[in-house]
């Protein structure tokens, strides 16, 4: 029996990026907000001290910062005909845990999606005709446009102190930036980070091939920065321990280094850590959330009543909580009905390895940051003519080598023995003169048979069904990966590499090797309640006092890292709550 807590105006599930943003916006509105976080409280320098944070074994290999699969996990299968099994060690993605969420361990690559990404189905149908799209591809328009999100992208970039070179200011293309990006209302708050030799050599080769290289937008600071909330960040030291690690130098944008210092000083904000929300409670009508139930580490069950519920957990946990709370109609891929679990996507990452003459090329790969690097966007979204190619989608290509960490960085050409003196010699030869797995950050579009539902067999420690992932690559994505990998390899060859090894993403989808943590969809936004769980303001169609943040709202993934868009959507939703919902609580869109 849950113990009832005093009512709050707002309860937020999860205190990562979106939970922090919503908490900040809604406390500014005067509301009494409590956030409930499954993992522990975590700070910057005291939790990730620069004196031991650069511990590759602890953080990278042993997954220090991530959810322990013992606590909860997912089941996985490629095809609907298979039986899913639980993931017992993380591989393809790293579910975050604790205050700050994925904002603690990310690389801080802070992209915007293309304007055409938000109207994808309309755009592609207009350009290529409806029959050009694979029959089972279920891509949709988002219900929100780039222009609507622009001010919110801008707010997040100024919160984070994002470093970059604008490519499009108010419609005017700028030298040195990404000419394909949507118009920006103003420049980045900080200049781009300095780039390493390998990054610049790649950019030079790309430019010589006729592309327009630009620095990757980075949340690792190029200089000291004070954000609009008065929170300060220090310059990045290029230590090369960003992704999978926290930053104790106050140099990587995270909730801890941008927003939490202000949030925790507010008297109308409180949070509970080490407390896992087990369900969103709804009243008898099923149309109104009454709060949440959570369990602390002692096993005590608590009920937190609230007028407004913000679901801000990791994408798949958002979907799981909706299904367990029986909010929205579960997706049925056979009947093609229902919405919760629909349009689940990940990313299609490929890579290229370049081996260079060690007497001429010394890349010092250990001098790096999480979002360092030079990129081109010629092969992203619909920036190029897909007509002759027979696929849709794309991704940015980048020489974004983020580190030379010793355990992971042992590049050897194919055919080298796996161990012994020859292996050691090859590592010594190529550690400094290898371009490691440059990013080919491919999109993954949505399909009817890629989805989330509750597992029929496996349960968590509370006896709740685990979330089941059914996911595989489709031919469209694999074609795109092969095409982009070829393009990338041309650039590496032009740099002067002796050996170029291509690794385009191949099927089947493999849950054991890391791609990205960008799992998307399952509770998507849109204009039609028959094909989306949320309206354009991230408000549940079914329960209007529930808003669902995060990448679970993406109808399909784009060829970028998602955090910028996740945060822009959070600010967009917060604005709608502040300016429309609170004045007249109820559905913001009538369908």
């Amino acid at each position: 029996m849950a113990t009832q807590l005093p009512r709050k105006d707002v309860v937020i599930i999860g205190l990562g990026w979106t939970g922090s943003i919503l908490a900040h916006e809604l406390t500014d509105e005067g509301l009494d907000v409590v956030a409930i976080e499954r993992g522990p409280w975590r700070d910057a320098a005291t939790d990730y001290p620069p004196n031991f944070d650069q511990d590759e074994l602890r953080y990278r290999i042993r997954h220090e910062l991530f959810l322990r699969p013992d606590q909860t996990t997912f089941t996985f299968r490629n095809k609907m005909s298979q039986t899913a099994l639980p993931i017992r060690s993380w591989g393809a993605f790293m579910p975050p845990n604790g205050v700050g969420g994925g904002g603690v361990h990310w690389n801080a690559e802070t992209w915007r999606f293309l304007p055409s990404d938000f109207v994808l189905r309309t755009h592609l149908t207009e350009r290529y005709g409806a029959s050009f799209l694979p029959e089972d591809m279920t891509i949709q328009d988002w219900g929100v446009t780039y222009d609507e999100l622009e001010p919110h992208y801008d707010r997040f970039e100024y919160l984070c102190g994002t470093c970059g070179t604008a490519g499009n200011l108010g419609g005017k293309i700028q030298n040195g930036g990404n000419p394909f990006e949507g118009p920006r209302s103003r420049p980045y708050p900080n200049p781009a980070q300095k780039q390493g030799f390998g990054h610049m050599l790649w950019a030079k080769a790309a430019a010589e091939l006729g592309y327009k290289p630009f620095p990757q937008p980075s949340g690792n600071m190029s200089q000291p920065y004070v954000n609009p909330l008065g929170v300060r960040m220090g310059p990045c030291t290029y230590c090369g321990y960003c992704e999978w690690f926290g930053c104790g130098n106050y140099s990587k944008a995270s909730p801890q280094t941008t927003i939490l210092p202000v949030l925790i000083r507010k008297s109308n904000f409180s949070f509970r850590d080490n407390s896992e929300v087990t369900r969103i409670n709804v009243d008898a009508s099923g149309k109104r959330a009454t709060g949440v139930t959570f369990v602390d580490t002692s096993g005590n069950e608590w009920e937190q009543p609230a007028d407004l519920v913000i679901l801000a957990a990791y994408s798949m946990f958002n979907v799981q909580l909706l299904l367990l709370s029986k909010i929205g109609q579960p997706y049925d891929p056979v009947a093609n009905t229902g919405v919760i679990g629909r349009n689940f996507t990940h990313q299609t990452m490929s890579s290229v390895n370049g081996f260079f003459d060690k007497t001429k090329f010394n890349f010092n790969p250990f001098v790096a940051s999480g979002a360092i690097g030079m990129c081109i966007d010629e092969f992203n979204g619909d920036n190029f003519d897909h007509g002759p190619l027979g696929f849709v989608g794309g991704g940015y290509l980048g020489q974004v080598q983020t580190n030379g960490r010793p355990i992971e960085t042992s590049p050897v050409p194919k055919g080298t023995p796996k161990w012994g003196a020859k292996w050691k010699q090859a590592v010594a030869d190529y550690y400094l003169s290898n371009i490691k797995s440059g990013s080919i950050h491919g999109s993954m579009y949505s399909y009817r048979d890629v989805y989330l539902d509750l597992d029929p067999t496996y349960t968590d420690r509370f006896g709740r069904p685990l979330m089941r992932m059914t996911i595989d690559f489709h031919e469209n994505e694999l074609k795109a990966a092969a095409y982009m990998t070829d393009k990338y390899a041309e650039i590496v060859k032009a740099m002067g590499a002796n050996i170029v090894e291509k690794s385009p993403r191949k099927g089947p989808y493999d849950v054991t090797t890391y791609q990205t943590t960008h799992l998307n969809g399952g509770a998507i936004m849109g204009a039609d309640p028959k094909t989306s769980a949320l309206n354009r303001y991230l408000q549940s169609w079914d329960v209007p006092n529930l808003f669902v943040m995060g990448a679970s709202a993406f109808p399909q993934n784009a060829g970028y890292n998602p955090t910028g868009t996740v945060a822009a959507l959070a600010y967009w939703s917060a604005k709608a709550i502040r300016e429309q919902y609170l004045k007249s609580p109820g559905p913001l869109v009538n369908a």
């Binding site: 105006d9 005067g30 509301l31 910057a44 005291t46 300060r232 220090g234 210092p261």
Partner: protein
Amino acid sequence: MRKRSAIAVAGAAVLILAYPAARGIADSSSPQDFAQIEHGRYLATLADCVACHTRKENGKPFAGGRPIETPFGVVVSPNITPDPQTGIGNWTEAKFDNAVRRGIRRDGARLYPAMPYTSYAKMSRDDVRAIRAYLMTLEPVRNPVVANQLPFPFDIRLSMRAWDMLFFTPGEFKPDSGKSAEWNRGAYLVTGPGHCGACHTPKNFLGGDKTDQALQGAAVQGWFAPNITGDKARGVGAMSEDDIVKLLKTGHNAITGVGGPMGEEVADASSHFKDTDLKAIAVYLKSLPGSGEPPPPPVAQNDPQMQAGQAIYRDVCSACHAIDGNGVPHLFPSLAKAPQVRAPDPTSGIRVVLRGARSVATDAEPTAPGMPSFDRQLSDAQVAAVLTYIRNSWGSAAPAVTPDQVAKQRGALANRTD
């Protein structure tokens, strides 16, 4: 649904609760006298009453119960809410004045100078009357406190009579007509309600002020409260008035940041001072000459400790504090310029390296950057070397730190919970 209205309701409830406690005591304060109550509220802020008179964990403001560490043992702060039984509700104005300005308890016994009546004596009777008027408006909290937990012989309050004769000079602040009004205001604030000397003035073996070394730095609560005179090398002489104002107001300036007990002071007290008062404090502190002693010659660059220290510094410190020791303004202190670094007594430096530290969060500077502990990573000799290097680089000079000093403090810190 709005929080603001809830605060207003709570505020009204407090006023109603407070009324009966304040009623019935004849004195010259009127609960209607807004100007006096507001004056008292501000003086209570200047005097930082709330810091000592509030228990740290879930203590109600002014309800006492906080252990105050003295060189002779622990004294627990009393309840100064207007509760008639356990607070000051039944104290007359004269008795209250006696306690604040003369160190004499309501029953005639002597207070310990953990209560800085030696400084508060500089306030006027009207000042103290105003503080009392303000305290009488607070919510009465029933919280009995056993104040004296000192070991023998210090638990005998009678001994304080002799102490007062030796070390206590009663008397209100007398302005110096040769100085500006601003300087005089600063002198009053620093020596009176601000009681800066309580921490920053060295004490003799009986705990009395070494008045000839006023504000030149002293050991307190496992820290070294630095020299805050105008001494250019060891004090605040090299900081501008604006730097000092910023430090007291926000906890940070372009040179350094404050943590530890001073961080509490900034959070509770000086961040709420008027800017004109902060400026006056800066003017007064910068006018104090300090000891006039020249800094010692720096430890030679080729000293083995300096060479080891430089290597350690580059490895573990420079990522934040920078190779040139200048840090990042308002975020990571400049070890090249922060006077605390050059204190003759290296207690604070050793503590920060071993324990780590966190600077104070204020509305103006909410970041509150922290520094990690290096206790596990660095040996006594390594801590001594890196501190010696920091204290004798970039134009600084201070006595070398010995591994013994580090070892001693490592042991002492193991027993500290703060």
